[in-house]
Amino acid sequence: MIGPRIEQPQLREITEVISEAPGVKTLVIRHSTAYKPGQFFMIWLPGVGEKPFSLSHHFEGEVGITVKERGPFTHALFSLTPGSAIGLRGPYGNGFSVVERSRRACVVAGGIGIVPLAALIDRLQQPLVIYGARSQDLLIFRNRFPEVSFATDDGSEGFHGSAVEAFRSLLDPKATDVVYTCGPEPMMRQVFDICEAHHLPCQAALERYIKCGIGICGQCCCDGYLVCRDGPVFSSSLLRQLSDFGRSARLRDGRVTTIEDYASWRES
């Protein structure tokens, strides 16, 4: 027999709630798990719903999810307090692959896309981190990274402009051996195109509407690939094949929409 594998949410206690920025909170959860940054958990609120979240940190016996308030589900997450219970199942997907290399990794984050990258940065050796947000008050985890270049759309902190522009100006292709990115998909598409121009391997964490999370329903498909199982992290060889990447995504009912419409919520 194959299996049994049991995908059921486990209820866990929230031990701490941290306000990171207006509309962004971290929930610290008592939980032990093996985890690779970029993977995700399905977070269950009984009676409310279940949605995918990356971990923003992962210690022994404790994990964090960092949530941007968007709609009904994240709103409900925001109402939780220490002592509340929350359901998790996972981790799912493939995560970023970290290899020991001679040169430097570059991390390009846009908005809430910093979340899975933060957990990744914890495991990298002195990466170049470029992190853009709409304005200074939306930057989170400010003191967490040893070295980081901020970019803000309104110039309120660091580079005045988008993370992509900052990346373009800060990138030293010769000194870099891999680029990790997460953020609004049009941004990731631009980062990828820059990497391609420089023949730099890129890993991008995609988002699609997740239902099952375990590769059975097909709802998260991106061309023939499943974001929940083949992704959410895709590297260059696959990104090249994904005609949907940066262009289109599917709504909850499977309808195709432009990535701008789909991803508008993610811009921070």
Binding site: I214, G215, I216, R255
Partner: protein, 303 residues
């Protein structure tokens, strides 16, 4: 060893078919599954209007199988026209799954889909967890099945499969009703139940819809028996679906009388390569046991 089969005139390179509702959201995902070795693929069920489906969680697995309450999410028949316009470019036949709440809706969807290059149409009258549809729409009676089937029959020239529920002895009457309505074949079965999994720490059903159809290993013996009974009662080709995870399971289903086998939940248990793996296991077993063609296997348990 040649595993190709003929299903109502459709040529399949092997008898494994992607079951409806699993992965079949888009032409690209169907193509991917085809590249993983499926002998045919089925779309997710398509309704006239777009449907968002039930709230998450929509799938939960337990030690003996899987429950789902997807609720037929799909972009609707109009969107399907575009999505599946070029399905004949796939290396294997593509079966369109058409659903409705009213018999007329089934027919309307089938009419739209029949204009596309699909190889066959399947109509599930048997979903156990979607209000207005299948068991919850009163479609799983002999009268309803006969009526739905004949209305759809009038609108499609494609080979027509009626997908029956996993039930008790009455499944034979349902199969006869489908035949009488003009079906060319039977797909047996859909998920059973519905069932429910409760998270006891939360004291709540896990699924957003609370209840969901049970698939996977749990279902297999009931599915095998339904196929066995239908094979004896109705002279139509059967696609056997329910809990098939290995080549042995597929052979068991074919011995019960299935000409081809649908695979759904096993995509989760073994990944998309389950299709080529099941085919490899079928071949190896046949070689080891001196079988030379699938025709010796189909219905062999009816001695």
């Amino acid at each position: 060893m040649d595993l190709s089969i003929d299903l109502c005139g459709i040529k399949l390179p092997n008898p494994t078919i992607l079951a409806s509702g699993v992965l079949g959201v888009s032409r690209c995902s169907l193509a991917r599954v085809a590249s993983c070795g499926a002998g045919a693929v089925t779309t997710k069920s398509i309704s006239l209007e777009p449907r968002s489906g039930h709230d998450n969680p929509c799938v939960v697995t337990y030690e003996a199988g899987m429950l789902n309450a997807m609720g037929y999410p799909n972009p609707g028949a109009e969107a399907a026209r575009e999505e599946f316009a070029a399905v004949d470019q796939l290396p294997v036949p593509v079966i369109a799954s058409a659903v409705g709440t009213e018999p007329e809706e089934f027919a309307a969807v089938a009419e739209i889909l029949t204009a596309l290059p699909f190889a066959a149409t399947e109509i599930p009258v048997s979903c156990p967890h979607t209000p207005g549809f299948g068991l919850m729409g009163g479609h799983a009676s002999t009268d309803a099945i006969r009526r739905i089937t004949s209305l759809v029959r009038d609108k499609t020239k494609l080979p027509l499969f009626v997908k029956l529920p996993a039930g008790g002895p009455e499944v034979v009457d349902l199969a006869k009703a489908a035949r009488d309505g003009g079906a060319d074949g039977i797909t047996a079965v859909n998920t059973i139940g519905p069932g429910m999994v409760i998270n006891i720490e939360a004291a709540r059903p896990v699924l957003g819809f609370k209840k969901g159809g049970v698939s996977g290993p749990a279902l297999r013996p009931v599915a095998v028996r339904c196929v066995y009974d239908i094979y004896e009662a109705v002279d139509l080709p059967i696609i056997g679906v329910g809990g098939i995870t290995t080549g042995r399971d597929a052979i068991e289903m074919m011995m019960a009388g299935a000409r081809a086998v649908g695979i759904g939940s096993a995509v989760y248990y073994r990944g998309m390569d389950v299709f080529s793996e099941v085919c490899r296991e079928i071949r190896t077993w046949m070689e080891d046991h001196g079988y030379e063609s699938l025709t010796e296997i189909v219905g062999a348990a009816h001695q």
